[in-house]
Amino acid sequence: MADARNAPQILQHVSKTLTCTIYDTLWVPSSARFVLLGSSARSTGTIQVYELQGNDVNKLDEVDKQFSFKCGTFGASDLVNRQLATGDFKGNLQIWDLERLGYPVYHCKAHETIINAIDGVGGSGLGFGAPEIVTGSRDGRVCVWDPRQKDEPVSSFEPERADAARDCWTVAFGNSYNDEERCVAAGYDNGDIKLFDLRTGSVRWQTTVRNGVCGVEFDRKDVKMNKLVATTLEATFHVYDMRTHHPENGYSSLTEKVSHGTTIWGVKHLPQNRDIFAVLGGDGSVSIYKYSYPDQRSMKDVDGKSYGVLGQVHLLSSKVLSTQPIGAFGWSPDKEGLAVLGSFDQCLRVGIVTKLSKS
């Protein structure tokens, strides 16, 4: 059915059914290739490299590894050696060179249990500071690694008591606007969102939302932190304005409920426009939202302290692409509107979103 609205259209360009469970899909920067991380039927990990060719994708490479992969990132590698950092179900952090997938370039046992989320920053020559990878795991620890330092994390944020540890479900880098500053936002299963400051090694801010946090992302990693979107269970997501910090109330937020009523599995900001983000629904839908700024981003309260003011978020477009939740989504950093999706129905899709530059 053709769309008669003047809004971005979400279309499925290529669809491929596979025999493995897809946990993460990422574009290889500066190329038409993407990597798929998953788990094969025999519970072994698989890394597959595909290339987009016209109306189809070609599988370029496929390797099987011992443990299933959960997540990966290209964030900490530079453009020449595009190295993929992965976290697997047993807590191993590995960095792979896509040309030589036989042996990892870096390997360490980051956590005792599954690494739920990974993020990288500092490699590709755009941002500042050392290349770093952050991993968040079920044991509640958030560790920051530098590929040049073996076996020991550069920073580690651990729960005080092991019995009070909550699973860390998601991590994201942000505020990396110069060589020293960098922050990590972490979301936990009890609804905690904590902002760790890597320069001082302390918790900069924390808050709790009503449901477990499935996805968290800053709108840009390499600028002074502007917005943070956190998505939770029960179809809710929160947008925080990170520009203005109120001494008592912290950062202001707005909450938006998505109509489908299922878990929002993640949020991904469009690399080409930081006010547009895609939100992945548990009913197999992808919704594109746009944030618009208010006239005044900060105002003063009765005591004269400034607090942030949130604008509005409106739904640009939404489309159900699959019957199972879409767990993996990756915007292409080179082509606006091109995305690769992986859902739990073992189906790999390449999607197109039109009219993003006009909205």
Partner: protein, 511 residues
């Protein structure tokens, strides 16, 4: 409303141009003749008892548009759809182009060498591994977690025992406070057993009690434990005194860097706290930051000028700093040979002494300065003597004047100079730069020479008139000066020959 043909119900002729009669229009009835169609309908009615409900054979976007666009909007909707499809086509075409482009770029990058990779920042310094912070600020949302754990751990027997000893409350409260400490920046090394403050009367721990306990431990020389107590006190209520005390304890165990930081914190809380400055000065001194140490002690002294200890520390620090920078005050005095103008030099020195004593600021010893002045004067005098020994005829008026002035009141030397000079060279030497005072001075000197070197004097006088602007200068002379010239002329004996010339010369001098 105008409806396109395909949207009309089959068979309806509304708005259409007149077409062939119904019987002939097979296309209208889907390829079946009209008679056939009628027959089918009758058969159906007989079978089912009702007219067959018409079904839309094609339910497609056109219908959707029709439903959507009942009204003027239908055109817009159509237009939108067309635009959308157009955009999609454009996107796909763009995608193909992009693919080619990016594949080229990809291949280029693959072949790029390693050296072109940008240089990376160094590995981040290991920060003290911070514990995940204590339960969140908002009690309503988070305490259920925390208390639930506490409840699980609650040992009934132990509690009963503790109630008997009346220590239960205090222990629980202090434990809860300890958990907060991990998140605040306290020094890393703790002693193996945490010191629990003993409470006698069942009072809850508070900042003041902790601090006092820390003081006690400090007196007993248990510095590490004292630091812990101070840290607890700071955690409960940061004060300048607590920070300063902790700094003192840190100094005792030689953790100078931490001590300095604590002192800085104390000063940030109270910038008039003398002890904090003094302790920071000590810390800095030990860390070899001598300039900072001197500054701190100085500031502390300003706050408490009568404190002897502070003064002593200040002096020590300053001595260290100066020694370090190898600053040597002038010890050697330059002694010069004094020959003739020694008296003058001494006088000069004395006058210098007077002035210097008036202007001294107490830092430098007065004697040194006066001595220096005297020595320079003596040096100048020697130089002058040297010049007078070896006199050379000046070639320019500047040279002449410097020499002339250098001689001061020494008429004899001046006379010698004049004798040395060739009178005919005078106009060239002076050009037009002979000032009135200088001229009068020359004439005075000539006055003394007139008895011996009359001819020379006459020649000098003659040549002086040839100096530029002489007549102007003569006119500008004061009465006294004119009398000097007159005296000279009277002294001069008139020559026997060239009387006219002499008279003319005298006239030029207007005397």
């Amino acid at each position: 409303m105008f409806l396109p043909a395909y949207l009309k119900k089959r068979g309806s002729a509304e708005g259409l141009p007149r077409r062939a009669p119904l019987a002939a229009r097979k296309s209208c009835t889907g390829g079946v003749g009209i008679g056939e169609e009628r027959a089918r309908r009758c058969a159906y009615r007989q079978e089912h008892g009702r007219v067959k409900k018409h079904r839309w054979k094609y339910f497609d976007f056109r219908v959707y548009v029709y439903l959507l666009g009942c009204g003027e909007g239908a055109m817009d909707a159509q237009k939108q759809i067309r635009e959308n499809t157009q955009e999609l086509h454009d996107f796909l075409r763009g995608l193909q182009d992009w693919e080619k482009e990016v594949k080229n770029k990809d291949n280029e990058l693959k072949t790029k060498s390693q050296d072109q990779v940008k240089e990376l920042r160094p590995v981040r310094e290991k920060k003290r591994a911070q514990a995940q912070a204590a339960p969140s600020v908002n009690a309503a949302k988070h305490t259920y977690d925390y208390f639930r754990d506490k409840w699980d751990k609650f040992d009934v027997d132990a509690a009963l025992r503790e109630v008997d000893e009346e220590n239960e409350q205090e222990k629980v409260a202090s434990k809860s406070k300890e958990n907060d400490y991990a998140a605040k920046g306290t020094p890393q090394t703790f002693s193996n057993e945490a010191v629990q403050p003993d409470f006698e009367k069942g009072s809850l721990p508070d900042a003041v009690t902790e601090k006092e306990l820390g003081n006690e431990l400090f007196k007993e020389k248990k510095y590490v434990q004292a630091i812990e107590c101070y840290s607890r006190s700071i955690g409960l209520h940061p004060t300048a005194v607590a920070y300063a005390n902790r700094a003192m304890a840190l100094l005792k165990i030689r953790r100078y860097e931490d001590a300095e930081m604590d002192c800085s914190e104390a000063i940030a809380l109270d910038d008039r706290y003398t002890k904090a400055y003094a302790r920071r000065g000590t810390a800095r001194r030990e860390r070899d930051k001598l300039l900072g140490a001197v500054e701190d002690f100085e500031f502390a002294l300003r706050l408490e000028p009568h404190n002897k200890d502070l003064q002593k520390q200040y002096e020590e620090a300053k001595a260290l700093y100066e020694k370090k920078n190898a600053y040597r005050p002038p010890e050697d005095k330059v002694t010069l040979q004094v020959q003739r103008s020694s008296i003058k030099a001494v006088n000069g020195a004395e006058s210098m002494k007077k002035t210097s004593s008036q202007t001294s600021n107490g830092k430098q010893p007065v004697k040194d300065e006066a001595a220096m002045q005297a020595s320079t004067i003596r040096a100048a005098a020697t130089a002058m003597n040297a010049v007078t020994q070896h006199m050379v005829a000046p070639k320019t008026s500047y040279e002449f004047e410097t020499l002339w002035r250098g001689f001061g009141d020494d008429v004899g030397t001046k006379a010698r100079l004049l004798k040395l000079m060739d009178p005919n060279s005078l106009p060239k030497v002076f050009r037009d730069a002979l000032s009135a005072t200088l001229m009068v001075d020359i004439i005075r000197t000539l006055d003394t020479m007139v008895n011996e070197d009359t001819v020379l004097v006459a020649q000098v006088l003659d040549n002086l008139t040839k100096v530029g602007r002489f007549s102007m200068t003569i006119m500008c002379l004061s009465h006294n000066d004119k009398s000097v010239i007159q005296k000279l002329w009277e002294k001069l004996p008139a020559p026997v020959e060239d009387l006219e010339k002499w008279e003319a010369l005298r006239k030029k001098y207007r005397v």
